[in-house]
Amino acid sequence: MSEQVNKIVDKGLDQGVINLTQERIEKAINQVLNKEAGARLKSYVETCVHCGMCSEACHVYLSKDKDPIYSPAGKVKRTLSEMIQKKGKVSPEFIREASIIASTECNLCKRCAMYCPFGIDVAYLLLLVRRICHLCGVTPLYIQDTAHSHSVTMNQMWVKDDEWIDTLQWQEEEAQAEIPNLRIPLEKEGADIMYSVIGPEPKFQAHLIYYMSVIMKAAGIDWTMPATPGWDNSDMAMYTGDNEIMGRVKRMHFDTAARLKVNRIIMGECGHAFRSVHDMGNRWLGYKLPPIPVIHAIEFYHELLSSGKIKIKDQYDKKVTLHDPCNVIRGRGLGELSRKVVNTLCSNFVEMTPNREHNYCCNAGGGVINTGPPFKNKRVLSNRIKAEQMAATGADVVISPCHNCHSGLEDIVHHYKLNMEVKFIGEIIYNHMEKPTA
């Protein structure tokens, strides 16, 4: 394995290791393990009886012919356990390897927490490893770049302030060709809803904003989008272990909604962004739950469809299956709602197995896809199990209500030649709903 990984050239890791000193490593490990972490680390490390039951949970382990180094506990053994045993006296090369393991071999999907009899949260332990690597300055280049972007622009994709507004107005004009009086309301104080998206939407998937504007118009929603930074709900700093930036980004997002005096935030079909407002970013800021209700698109669509605000004129009749993204299914229990939505929209729905909380991860989330091209092959090859799971459905379309999953599944479909389309729910709603003419 090492041989193969060492061939991977990644400037963030390679340069980071050159700059790294022994003192800095020890300081970082000491800082995280002794000062920042507490009861969870102690309990997990001292309680694990090395039974190996977590192995079956991990898509990487299953896809890599059950190679034990890829089991959840195996990944902890190769990283954190070694750091603890050696009291932080590990080499820069070890930190590089640990960074690769924590950032590209684990998606922090927490499936293994459901397979450990003690409920040990390996994702949390590997996040600690990412945090250590971050403090050592050894993080894969591409995801580090997104964290830099967050810190400079408050969005993930270096979208400039004027480009953001310009993109929204561009999509508004496009949509007006279809519905002449459609608006994408900007900075509307006191609107019911602030709609927020992730950086990649304005950057290269602007049509998704178009679709949502049509849905909002048809449903008669009083909504707005901010014209200022704070519009982006994504948070890759959360995945690099840069908790400080994570907190800044989340605060800006919540503050923007508060400034606009909206009742709630609706977010697009993104999983990690939901984790950042519902689990990690909010807690960093001291909130048990988000200070303003944040509703994931799945729940919002369900609300619109079940209340009749959006009517479906003809059901989508291709054979579809549904992927359960970890952060909103295992992370927010939206599994039943997503099925209700899909069954309303589609006439031919088949489950993939396992599903709901037990679904296999896309292997893209948890920031893994954001480590970029150097790790793409590895990422796709280490999720064969997902390809098999999807192929077994015989479906033509896999619906994935999460951006990271969506991109990851597309890569898998392409590599394993599955001949499937990957779709967002919003896309299907847009194409099959009754639209207002004016």
């Binding site: 507490g38 009861a39 997990y44 001292e46 309680t47 009886v49 689990d279 927010r332």
Partner: protein
Amino acid sequence: MNELYQLLTGPMLWLTFFVFTFGTLYKLLSILVLTIQKEPFIMSVFSFKYGMRSILSWMTPFKPVSMKKHPVLSSVIYVFHICLFIAPLFLMAHITLLDESWGLVWPSLSDSLIDYLTLIVLACCLFYFIRRLTQKEVNYLTSQSDYILLAIVALPFFTGLMAYHQWFAYGFFLNLHILSGEIMLMAIPFTRLSHMIISPLTRAYMGSEFGEIRHAKDW
């Protein structure tokens, strides 16, 4: 031999109770203090209802998917833990000792039944041992300490069996039985055997996270 017996059932036993009791309290307290100091959010997440939901779900045989994936191991774990507690606690000889010392009495099980339970415990230990050697994913995680812990658990049962049947050197096995039992009890708070104390907490915490925050099942 007799002097050793006096030592093991006298001062050593008191030491064992002391180390076990205060070790356990220390373990629990240190977790509690760490939680309050560094991760107070855990307190806000903790839910009795969902904690219990998780614990009970994981105690129900073959309810968790993970157990279904490991039917043999799960059955062994079940039987092992039940026998591990029942055999020493309901053995006539143990109860008699407690009666003589403190006048504590409760019903006992027949000696022949306990004999079987002891054999089951030992068979389970053998299973764990072989599993550690042969199962790739377990072997990879296994360190020397895992074998030592297994020996610490198996030894009181093995020596108990030998002493009860008075096979070979009775006095030797009796003393070794007492000593190994004391070692096991004292090891509980300070080794991975502490899962006896901590695992209900980690399970309840994960159950609370899943129930209270994530609105999902964790089994």
